[in-house]
Amino acid sequence: MASGPGAPGLELEHVTISIGGRRLIEDLTMAVAPGEIATIMGPSGSGKSSLLSFICGTLEPDFEALGLIRLAGVELGPCPPERRRVGILFQDDLLFPHLSVGENLEFALPASVRGRAARRAKVAAALAEADLVGFGGRDPASLSGGQRARVALMRTLLAEPRALLLDEPFAKLDVALRARIRRFVYVHAQAASLPTLLVTHDPEDARTTGGPVLELG
């Protein structure tokens, strides 16, 4: 995966997704620069999540998808999901219930970080960043919704992604919490210079990104 020419961000070119002959997404072309948060809005069933699955490489076989995805100039199409280095946050935080909070973070840490001490230090730093010092040994199920959301983001960032996809990650949080977590996610995505693609049907999510917004029919 040598990096080619072209723009450094995430690019979609003429992406079309259909299921059973029904077009969900038609000829979508867009580019997201590093540190930029682009939003795709649309009602449920409009194919927003399918688009993210297509970018991740996990689109169900029933779907048909055409078009190019490029990340840092490299085409993702031929890569299996695990080689794409695309981080994704879902509506459910999907912390693995059989691992502790710290182990969840360590799971995402690349194997290139060697040695127990070095790995633990990275995990501790991530916990501190999420304002969860000392939570490493906790059961994820014992955390509040906001805490879980923060752990989920830190976990995704520890895997060192080159792009970030957000699949309505704030939908299940209550209103007061939503603004805080949203800010937390946006700040970290921008600090890591990640091209970020957000799908949502909450206009407030889109308004606060300061990035481009695209409406799907």
């Binding site: 991740c56 490489g57 996990t58 076989p61 299996p80 999901p81 695990e82 080689r83 280095r85 695309v86 981080g87 994704i88 879902f90 459910d92 999907l94 693995f96 219930p97 059989h98 691992l99 182990e103 360590e106 799971f107 995402a108 840490l109 690349p110 194997a111 290139s112 970080v113 790995r119 976990r155 995704t156 895997a159 992604p161």
Partner: protein, 589 residues
Amino acid sequence: MRFVPATVAHGQLGRAQPAGTARQPVRGRWLRLIPPLTLGLFLGPILAGLLGTILPAFGYLPALGGERLSLAPWRQLFAAPGLQAASQLSLMTGLLATAIALALTILAFAAGQGTRAFRRARRLMAPLLAVPHLATAIGLAFLLAPSGWLVRLITPWLTGWQTPPDMSLLQGPYGFGLTLGLVVKETPFLILMTFAGLGQVHADRHLRQARAFGYGRIQAWLKVVLPLVYPQIRLPIYAVLAYSLSVVDMAIVLGPTTPPTLAPLILRWFSDPDLTLRFQAAAGACLQMLLVLLAIAAWRLAELLIARLARPWLTSGGRGGSGRLGHWLAWLCLGVVTLLAIGGLFALAVWSVAGAWRFPAAWPAELTLATWARHLDLLARPIATTLLVGLAATLLALGLVLGCLEQEQVSRKPPGQGALLLLYLPLLVPQISFLFGLQVILVRLGLDGTWLGLIWAHLLFVLPYLFLTLAEPYRSLDRRYETSALALGKPHWQVWWRIRLALLLRPVLIAAAIGFAVSVGQFLPTQMVGGGRLVTLTTEALALANGADRRLVGMVALSLAVLPLVAFAVALALPAWRFRHRRGMASGG
């Protein structure tokens, strides 16, 4: 099969619907009796049977003159020739078969979960599971015997043999054939149970998440899905282990003979004309039970150990490769297992219509229906008995299970983990360990060799499978369908019958087909309770299996395999036809 749900429902509702005023409390009162009745009907015989085995093991069996407790049967048992070798063989084949079946299951899911091919392969598993163990075993024997089909296919051009070789994969001293047979039968079972377990743990979403972190397919499955799904399949694994350690019919066909594994050896003592051997046999049946407990305990210990040792590996960050090698390995192994199972059935079919078929020839000289024509009358009674017992046990079990599940809905109290364990009891206790005692009791009650006794004995095994299959769809049906029907002013029984049962037609019929298949496959309960007076296809097939006439054996074993498959076909076709104009019913209830 067609009238299965109808008959049961009328029986049920006849009780459940009070004359005149249909009020919930009255309905609840009748319904409330069903779970304890069910438990009594199926736990009673098992516990009584265990007691009836343990007492003679310590010398107490007044009918045979054993009036005082003593350790003599145990001394007799341990002095019996071949006991140690038989026990070792049982442990080895049982543990090995379970471990291999589990490994294949894990490999298949790790390499294949979420792929389209794997989803298609799933549909093949249910019919493979439906074929009785004995039919699969005889089919395998037809393939693997020294003069079997596989040798014929490579002889003489590859082997140079003119006569069947002396050595055999089957019945050799290490139980290779038995282990293979168990793997062929138990892998589909574990695969289907794993499919059922995956839905409970959101496996797909976790898998997708792990792969987004850069994990290869196989590592992601092993590190994330396996730890989550294993607790869901733990009891099924123990059931496979218990079954494999104590199987009789498969062991007689595919296992070694001198000595055999423990369970067939015990059965030999039970059937010996020398009645004093019964005490020794009872002690042996207790030993069998202890072996199973020991094996389960050892397995549990290994689980804990592996979970502990693997913990650092889970979070070490290793992503693994593309898993292409694992992918091919999985398809290869599953392919071999499936081919052996289907190939065996094909061998049965070909033998049953074979004319002259000399040794090295790969195909019979002629195909003829002579065997079927000559022996068809031999099949009539076993088929009738098999159908009657199977349908009766299935209907009874279905009525009880539906009653239990409906009571659960009414009381809104789902049963806990303890109830699940009770349900698994007949699958965890070796059959031979309580069937002896049960037989003694049935003889006392004058029920041995009767239809009632036999149907009851089959019920013990049909009921748990039926419950396990039906519980999930029954519980997950959206209650609001019924609420809206009640709001339209329909009485309870009509709502249950016309809404719930109608919506659940497909899972109900599939559960019934599984129950029927379980009944058809029962060897030991039929042999011990039927007492030779009631003969089913299974007991008939095993009686013939050691005889020489492969054509006849092929015919009986093929019939044995086909009967449950027909039930499955009906269970799939009937709802498909009934709802052919209802797209919303396409993927089951």
